[in-house]
């Protein structure tokens, strides 16, 4: 789209959307949301960028290479956290017993490793969202 108003508004809005997405992701253990919802929101922000600025610029921002790393990295983070559980406390995906800080219930830094897991999931979901959207857009244009 070439409209200057849309472009400007989008440029202002997108960071806030992403911030909100990160907030939902990290607060998954205290409020509704979590990795999937937060990741979807971050994905949505990139979709907005694609719609406004065009697929080519979007691909420069979020290239295929980045998506590969993001998708693999997300799950690898998850697995790594699980493996920490094995090393420290003898069971996969152990939470408190593996040494993750318990914190005070209700605040962001509580619940052990769950926020970290959410980050991993969020990255992956966002990346999937964006890749799917890019694939659909490309097929339509081709």
């Amino acid at each position: 789209m070439n409209d200057i108003i849309v472009k400007t508004v989008a440029r202002i809005l997108i960071p806030f959307i992403q911030l909100y997405g990160i907030f939902i992701m990290l607060h998954g253990h205290v409020s509704p949301g979590g990795g999937f919802a937060g990741g979807a929101m971050i994905g949505t922000s990139f979709v907005l960028y694609t719609l406004v600025f065009g697929i080519d610029k979007s691909k420069k921002k979020f290239s295929e290479r980045v998506s590969e790393y993001a998708e693999s990295g997300g799950i690898l983070l998850y697995i790594a956290l699980g493996l920490i559980g094995i090393i420290m406390a003898g069971s996969f995906l152990t939470n408190i017993d593996a040494g993750f800080p318990k914190g005070t219930p209700g605040s962001m830094f509580s619940g052990g490793m769950i926020p970290l897991l959410m980050i991993g999931i969020g990255i992956k979901v966002a990346s999937t969202f964006i890749t799917l959207f890019h694939t659909l857009i490309e097929e339509e244009e081709a």
Binding site: I79, L83, G90, L93, N95
Partner: protein
């Protein structure tokens, strides 16, 4: 430390799947070799676990140290480890085969994706077999469905799409039936962990008979759809025939069996003999199996495409296995498990040899097999060995399975089943023998008369020879395997 090995092996497989895209820029052989190394490592780890379980007994593993009713539990006993070991061995053979450029119509850039799907598939299979939680089984079942659909439709042709679409639809119906059954059980018992559910069912089911009956019905039908038991086999011929050869081998030889293992787990671990004696699941299974054995072969006889024929043959063989399960006795279960192993070997050998023939000669019709034995002797010899095994000729594992199934049927008092078994074997002979005869004894169009080992990559020849040798070896010396399986069957009942 040993207790960590199952989950570590699963994680390694998943990790390998995730790392593959990162190697996209390099030579593809790096990926395949690394994949083989990972598979080998997982195989060795499983061997260690097998040895440990054999000596020490079953072990339980809890995720996150949570209690059984709160968290996910893995129950690793001889049954689970043995079959995981066997599946990994067979996958290694098929993996080596598939690196030989025999993915048949799959585009170059899709190869990486194929292996990602393969590893995730393996991860899911290990998960299904190890897990001790009904809902977790559902999750892994779904992952398995999606990945198998993808390895069918990775060949981008129209027939693949229709076949995989039908496959996905029917599999979803199956999964949802299964989930419905799980929900019913949860409703009655309040748990999804298999051990706790079994305890609870044993005590309370007489208070809620309708629930338990409906649950069994839906679960058996659901898993039956996914393992191609007779009336629900309709997705199988299309799916297995249009898929690339190594996918067909994996599907027919392994994936179908994993669902049967789920059926065994559900019937014997969750419900147990006390329930099964009263609810007539046995009659149902035997009736369905007997029909399947005959009808599968009847349909197979009329096929012109060889992979479709092999697909229908799978339907018939799954009938044998379900018949063994339906007899609900140690002998029957042992015979069924032996046939799981033996059919996996034979079907993999058949699909891989057919794949080699399609790769080299691009021939798929049964009528064009004249003289194939001279142009591709190794593939046809392995095909012959496996086909003779399906018929039930002595010196192959198929014969031992028939013996065991027959004895189990007699032991269960169902002499008619022996007759059905024999008729089915004869029908198998009706469509396999002409192919073998045409291949070796008729003249082919190019009139080649000297047998020379065919020029296909060694990574394709090796697995064929290994599979052929294994079929004959277990046909001659089945003793060890039978004893182990008998122990497994006894532990399940």
């Amino acid at each position: 430390m040993i207790a960590q090995l199952p989950i570590v092996s699963m994680v390694m497989l998943l990790g390998m799947a995730l790392i593959i895209p990162l190697f996209k820029r390099r030579n593809f052989s790096v990926t395949t070799s690394l994949g083989f190394v990972v598979l080998l490592a997982v195989w060795v780890l499983t061997l260690l676990v097998l040895w440990h379980v054999r000596v020490e007994g079953p072990m339980t593993y809890r995720f996150g140290n949570y209690e059984a009713f709160l968290g996910i539990e893995l129950y690793i006993d001889l049954f689970a480890v043995l079959f995981v070991f066997f599946i990994l061995s067979l996958i290694m053979v098929i993996y080596v085969y598939s690196t030989g450029d025999a993915t048949e119509g799959v585009a170059e850039k899709e190869y990486g994706r194929y292996y990602i799907l393969l590893f995730i598939l393996l991860f899911a299979m290990l998960g299904i077999i190890y897990t001790n939680d009904l809902f977790n089984t559902y999750v892994f079942m779904e992952i398995l469905s999606i990945t198998t659909v993808s390895i069918i439709s990775i060949k981008r042709k129209k027939e693949n799409y229709t076949a995989s679409f039908r496959y996905v639809m029917l599999n979803e119906i199956g999964s949802l039936s299964y989930l419905f059954g799980v929900a019913l059980l949860y409703m009655v018992t309040g748990y999804t962990n298999i051990g706790l559910v079994a305890e609870s069912i044993g005590q309370h089911w007489t208070a809620y008979p309708a629930n338990a009956t409906t649950a069994i019905g839906f679960m058996v039908v659901g898993v039956g759809i996914k393992s191609a038991v007779f009336p629900f086999h309709v997705w199988l011929p299309d799916a297995h025939s249009t898929a690339p050869s190594s996918s067909s081998a994996i599907l027919s030889a392994i994936v179908v069996k994993v669902y049967i293992l789920i059926m065994i787990k559900v019937l014997f671990r969750v419900f147990g003999l006390s329930v099964l004696d009263v609810i007539p699941v046995s009659t149902l299974l035997i009736a369905v199996a007997a029909t399947g054995m005959i009808m599968g072969s009847m349909f197979a006889m009329a096929q012109t495409d060889i992979k479709r024929m092999l697909g229908y043959s799978s339907v018939a063989q799954v009938g044998y296995i379900v018949m063994g399960i339906g007899l609900i006795s140690v002998l029957g279960l042992q015979a069924a498990l032996f046939h799981v192993v033996s059919h996996a070997l034979m079907k993999a050998a058949l699909f891989l040899s057919v794949g080699a023939i399609i790769y080299k000669k691009k021939i798929r019709k049964v009528s064009e097999f004249n003289g194939m034995g001279f142009e591709m002797p190794v593939a046809m010899v392995v095909f012959t060995i496996a086909a003779l095994g399906m018929i039930g000729v002595p010196m192959t594992t198929g014969f031992i399975s028939k013996l065991n199934l027959g004895l189990a049927a007699l032991d269960g008092g169902q002499a008619v089943l022996v007759f059905v078994l024999i008729v089915s074997g004869f029908l198998n002979a009706l469509y396999y023998l002409p192919i073998i005869i045409n291949a070796f004894l008729k003249d082919n169009p190019s009139q080649i008369r000297v047998m020379r080992v065919e020029k296909i990559p060694k990574t394709m020849l090796g697995p064929l020879v290994v599979l052929g040798a294994l079929i004959v070896y277990f046909g001659l010396f089945p003793g060890v395997l039978i004893r182990v399986l008998e122990a497994v069957a006894a532990s399940l009942l």
